[in-house]
Symmetry: C2
Subunit: 172 residues, 2 copies
DNA sequence: AATCACCTACCTATCAGTTGATAGCTGACA
DNA sequence: TGTCAGCTATCAACTGATAGGTAGGTGATT
């Protein structure tokens, strides 16, 4: 039952992470999955519904992955860095929410809001491990996450994933 | 002669910085400028031509602005930070090339290449003021530019431009 | 056991609107 | 007379979305 839905979400996530919200169509997703575009509409009535579902799943999976890596003994910042680097190395894929945030005014509000929630989760996840006061912790979380997002952007654009490591080498 | 061309480039830059390459059309640009879409094609035969010209002008203007601010006595990093913050404050506008880089696989190669050139210019501009060896200077330039780009992304997505200042407060 | 209503998960066919792009015309100006 | 900078009109392709059909399954009623 959910397996087709997952396949649709997988295809949509892949396409969005490559070309953004306005860079994919229902017909492309349908072709990827092996069904017709009307069937994609059956599971996700509108394009906004589909993209929002993709972003929501992305955020939830990320939270789980952070918890899992940390349970394995990695520090919080190292965990975030590793997760981003892995997805970059795996298939040159940027952070989904980074792309959605970049083209913010061109995506439905419900989608931009999911991206916003991802960043809020990320900033507070990283800020949490700072022993400083509230404002300095916030600044710390923002600084780390901003650097990671920007490093993915630069590495992708300049076509060299090792630049991600160089750009983030001093983070701790 | 060039005044209409400039108006077209202005409109295209504004639209791309809000919704990306796939988030604008010739008809929208034409409406913004007050002409017909066929007239936009007269000046820029294809969409790729137009977007590449926008990105090229953006890079050149940025280089000039950096030189000008520095002549006025500001440090290199402070200059880059100020230029990005100003464009964010002015009209919630992200870095043009940050957006084009994010949706890289969805834009024509000639456009992605202009974005790449912007980042190469930026990284070496910032790396230049480092007194360290080649690799460390590169890492320094990458780190600063990545943080600035990511800070714009976060501030825009979270709807609060002061977050840009918080995220970049420790850069020097 | 057989009929019935209902559901899920697809399908075909089609819609109006938008897209980038082209051909060919017009008027202004040198 | 050309060239420039617009224009009208049109194109095929693609877009998100909808209507309506169908095959197969579930579960209750008869």
């Amino acid at each position: 039952m959910t397996e087709r839905v997952d396949a649709i979400l997988d295809a949509a996530e892949n396409r969005i992470r490559r070309a953004g919200y306005n860079g994919f169509s229902f017909r492309e997703i349908a072709t990827d999955v092996g069904i017709k575009s009307a069937s994609v509409h059956y599971h996700f009535p509108t394009k906004a519904d589909l993209a929002a579902a993709v972003a929501k799943r992305y955020r939830e999976r990320f939270e789980e992955a952070v918890a899992k890596n940390e349970a394995a003994g990695a520090g919080r910042v190292e965990t975030w860095k590793t997760l981003f680097r892995d997805s970059l190395a795996e298939d040159n894929r940027m952070c989904l929410c980074g792309i959605l945030a970049a083209e913010k005014e061109g995506v439905p509000e419900v989608v931009a809001d999911e991206a916003r929630q991802f960043f809020e989760m990320g900033v507070s996840s990283i800020a949490e491990v700072s022993k400083d006061n509230a404002e300095n912790s916030l600044a710390y979380g923002l600084n780390i996450l901003a650097t990671l997002e920007g490093a993915m952007l630069l590495a992708q654009s300049m076509g060299d994933n090792t630049l991600f490591d160089l750009a983030t080498a001093n983070l701790k």
